[in-house]
Symmetry: D3
Subunit: 275 residues, 6 copies
């Protein structure tokens, strides 16, 4: 069950409200790299977690933290919109064919939300929940989470660069820090599960007889004119899961048939010529 306290997790200050930066900040709320995504992803993973209870607890606790991130980011968006234009004069349309602010901000920050945050990204595209990855496999989920926090920290770093506002920089430095820990903690969970080697390949419960193992450890070069790029993945050393040896097939050859569906069936509403 959830509870709320009235203060924000972190202080939010905007020195110079900027409605275009408000549009950019939305990516951290409703973008695929944003906070709704991680909050809901950890929440759904927690609800589906089976096995070691510690992972369920971590997931639910951090889901709860991410809800608090949405909250202070939402406040930051609203503060950036404080002085956004509400009429044509304010938009500067009187001075030019169109004012740069009216063109550059998200129109729906005026039209739809009345100067507050929305669950959309920087293009105004609403977040959709297909991005909640929760597989029921703790290894896949932890990788998904480390990835989500990586893209989140990339985003926060870029936002940090795109603003001159000291208040915004301070808030973003907090987000960058928390994204660091969240990357670290999900990878630490993999350590606790025995580390990458033991977790791999995900799922590690698939019986080997379900796998055509002769195809499991070669890098396939599908290029007609490029050499196979050399690296750990081709060096003849042991694979990271300890089950095989990295090799390469320098030339990709088809092993299957020429597909042929024959003629169309009657009543399939194909053209007569196909039948």
């Amino acid at each position: 069950m959830f509870h709320h306290s009235s203060k924000l997790q972190y202080e939010v200050r905007v020195d110079t409200p900027d409605p275009v930066f408000a549009k950019y900040l939305q990516q951290a709320i409703g973008g695929v790299e944003g906070e709704i995504r991680v909050a809901m992803q950890y929440f759904f993973q927690a609800m589906g977690a089976r096995g070691d209870k510690r992972f369920r607890d971590m997931l639910m606790m951090t889901a709860t933290e991410e809800l608090s991130h949405i909250e202070f980011l939402g406040h930051a968006v609203a503060l950036n919109l404080e002085k956004a234009p509400l009429d044509a004069q304010e938009a500067g349309a009187a001075d030019s064919v169109v004012g740069a602010i009216m063109g550059g901000m998200n129109p729906r920050h005026v039209l739809s939300s009345g100067l507050s945050a929305m669950p959309v990204n920087a293009n105004g595209v609403p977040f959709d929940m297909s991005h909640i990855y929760a597989t029921g496999n703790i290894g896949a989920d932890m990788l998904a989470n480390a990835m989500a926090e990586s893209s989140g920290r990339v985003l926060a770093s870029r936002l940090y660069n795109m603003t001159d506002d000291a208040g915004m920089k301070d808030m973003l430095s907090f987000l960058i820090a928390r994204d660091t820990m969240h990357q670290q903690q999900w990878l630490a969970a993999i350590e606790e599960l025995g580390g990458i080697e033991k977790c791999m390949p995900v799922p590690n419960s698939t019986p080997e007889e379900h796998e055509a193992m002769k195809h499991s450890y070669y890098f396939l070069n599908t290029s007609l004119d490029e050499e196979t790029p050399q690296g750990v993945w081709t060096n003849g050393g042991p694979s990271m899961d300890g089950r095989g040896t990295y090799t390469a097939r320098d030339k990709a050859e088809p092993e299957g048939q020429v597909p042929d569906l024959g003629k169309a069936r009657e009543k399939s509403a194909a053209q007569t010529e196909q039948m």
Copy 2:
């Protein structure tokens, strides 16, 4: 530039066509764990790759392989639909109020595609390209790829279990194998970049002064009644990026203000009572 040869990458055989399994297989084509996703993800990552050319090459080569996976899976779906009902009698509707096949298959496999594969998932929801994660950061991208292949191998393992068809099991054992290698190769790329420690935190180019480092290494317990789950993430040892020490805050306290937006502005079309 792309080229094509007429044979499939892998032989596809369906012993007993099953239109309901065709619906399930769609998840491997148009699901978020499926082949369109990885093909397009690696393709867009390759197009945006900067730095060491080997990673660009790997990405483009494996993107090309994944296109071939779409192709043989598409053939597998069509073969499973070979005998799908095209009229009410075939659907068994004559025998009962509604036939289980007509209700259980994807209706659009008859109505829209005429017995062939579609770029949709097992619910018939079309794949949408927001799932193409390509950040321009090679570390985040490689994690995203390892994750995608993990969820892909989870999916292929589940599909393997859900069918009795020997041909389908054979094809899925190949997919399971290739997903193994693809997990391994993306993690090998991280090794080549110095390993998890050196890559972390992603992005590793963010200056430390952009980060509120005092918040970077504690696990935050946001629960009111649960102990902090103990593990690598709280054990006082070095963090995985080697920059800090794992600790915990056993009780989460807000550090920010009570947010307050004050009154609504004139012309904002709020209610008069808000102004």
Copy 3:
């Protein structure tokens, strides 16, 4: 800031797991009538609330409650999936061309989530955040909330009827009750704002000179062969906002011009014949 406690808001019990009912229950999580919607709607309204602080508090408190509803519903879905088929035999496919369960359940409850809840509706369509209505106008928002709870209680009532499981009926009776209160409380907020009359028309801050008042109080009959339906809306009595008198126009006549865009401009890539 948010917090969590380990127990569910309400006890969840499933006597007879039913994977098809799990599919139906998803509507209460990820449907437009469901709990993600209200949780996020109240949360975003709270973050954008201006004026009387009591409404902001109500919104945040009930948002928090709705998060708890997602949580126990998610548990209910997982419990209904406890015995869902994981292989072809369990699915009954051995006995018939296709088993009714394998066809009738959401395939992604096996393939994608591994027997747990997803943020999707009963068709497997992911919830998308465009359904979060938060206008910045407290009157419009309260109506939106009363509406959301109405559709939510309609849904819960239908789910109650569709199951025979005593545990599920108990849980749904709780949801029906809370939806009652939530309807009541949002309408009570409108009372507190002076009632429907004072709040109307929303927004009540629009100056009358922005409105073509002669068009504000007639019902327009656009039918060619039906009488104007008679009722409060046509009875010559005072309108609900107290500003006008309900009347009707029994025949709809256009008052505008025949639209004509003339010829296409050069460089518009129209056909030459249009230019």
Copy 4:
């Protein structure tokens, strides 16, 4: 059956074409507050209406009116695009790195529609029909309609403010007026059904034994540090549906169990450690 006459419902005039305002106007066509939404919502509600025929008639008549609103708004968008730039010079790109118009307008107004209206919102996001709320419950539907018209009138009021164009202001004043009546008429329908009290709680046909009535009339304070906001919803008076008494629970306590899904099943493709 539908018919059409050649003139617009209302005169449309644009004195100074403005391609950025064209982008804003799109919200009134393809936004969730816009005319496609209400046209289709009333149309689908009408098609599903059961019971008193007057409501079906109202719905179909007003659906038809809303189609006419789409039509004149579509003309208004096209007129605002009359002089939109079709080449780099017109866009002003010759004078600066990028012209404000080329950056501020919807690119697809040039690229995709050739200077005419599209069924998209002000962000260029296409309208999707999930926003058509039609529940089969006349009470829920009428609330949904009053809400839709409220958000519509908020939008029209904001658009009115955002333009200086006299023609556009005139057209918007008509929309504001019609949105007034539409709000009034749907609320009048609720009056005709006995008023809010008799309609509540929606659905009013749910038997009381399906409802855990002891949970139906308390406001739940889920905050850890805020007092329960006081108002009609907590004042001990009768609830709006006349069935109960408004109270509050000042502290939210969980009543359910700690959820626990145990171990993962074999064949579920979880990690071995979860099993």
Copy 5:
């Protein structure tokens, strides 16, 4: 401006209500081949039509007809749902683990719409307006319309086959007929514009100097092992637009460079190794 008359364009009769067929029928309402699509496509094309007024008129008149098609199809869906199960007993869940109807119908036909039509396809995916193709080029639009009616008639033919209900077959035979005419009329419009040759290539207003004409008339064989398929497109005869000669390049060779983006820029939040 639109008007409505109370009767349906065509008589609708359902002899044996079938909730699974109701799900299938939805494709004709909310599918990409369905009636919402053509109604809205013609409507938006009409609103953007420039040049010969006859095309605008045709578009608006047929848009209006398609609205009437939505209407009678919506009635057909509701009639097919007349006896759909509203509780577990009716669904047959008492007799088996899960009833085939409860699994095979669209759950939202009970849960969300209360036994009436929805603006969704046969998978329950809502129609989205991105499918409204309206380019401002009358040639492209007429082809889009002929295509839409072709896929529509394919759909109606398949639905005709999938039902045994005489009433439904009668209604569908009307739809098949109207789709015939609509195909014919849009192609007739192309005739009126001078026929395919004169219209081609679309847009026929693009100056030849904007086109690298040497690449305009060869078929490109991108296969490594297949002969170029021979036909009109390779036969050395005149192209359909009369401007060139059909030829083939039997082997596809790249003409461009190896793409190389060099190193990542500072502040781009790439990994340090990329910089």
Copy 6:
């Protein structure tokens, strides 16, 4: 099976990088008129092709070519972003409240992709695969393809006009040329199938007894005040499919009943007043 070679199909050069034009170019990658669409459409059509093998081959070969178009367009987008602003100073925010570039470019070109192409359109809306039209009917598919290439060439022509960059104009002139051939080749395929007359109406395999032929050849005038537009479609001549004669009904009269669903069923959660 697919293969790749390292060079682009066509040389890409950008003389003056322009991040706003990068946003526009995205329409040619991820727009409905763009290259992902045609690549995937031809690919899925090929996988479902039945009958004459030449069409399958054409489809697969051109699908492969379109993948190469995505590739060089992706490079063009990245080159246009080479100097896009990565911090507030570069964005010009120091000079004005907001810089025109920061407002006019796609924010996600900085925030999400790190200065490279994305699978989105010019509004930043991700491509979704519902736009892949592949019906299993070769006639409908070829029309769909001719249409797609028509809208594609309209788009390329408009982009050509919107830039002054010689490199971009050169690349677009190649796209215009290839779109010419692709239009020509799909129409040539229809010629090979016997031409429009023989292919019509699509599907030409629908038995005439499934069609209410008396409704197959009249244009329906649904206007109340407009004359029937005269043209080939009304001229009494033979229809294009050779089966009928073009006529018109100058006045549209309903032929169906007044729809009436009666009362709502018990347990449908309608309002009591509807029952």
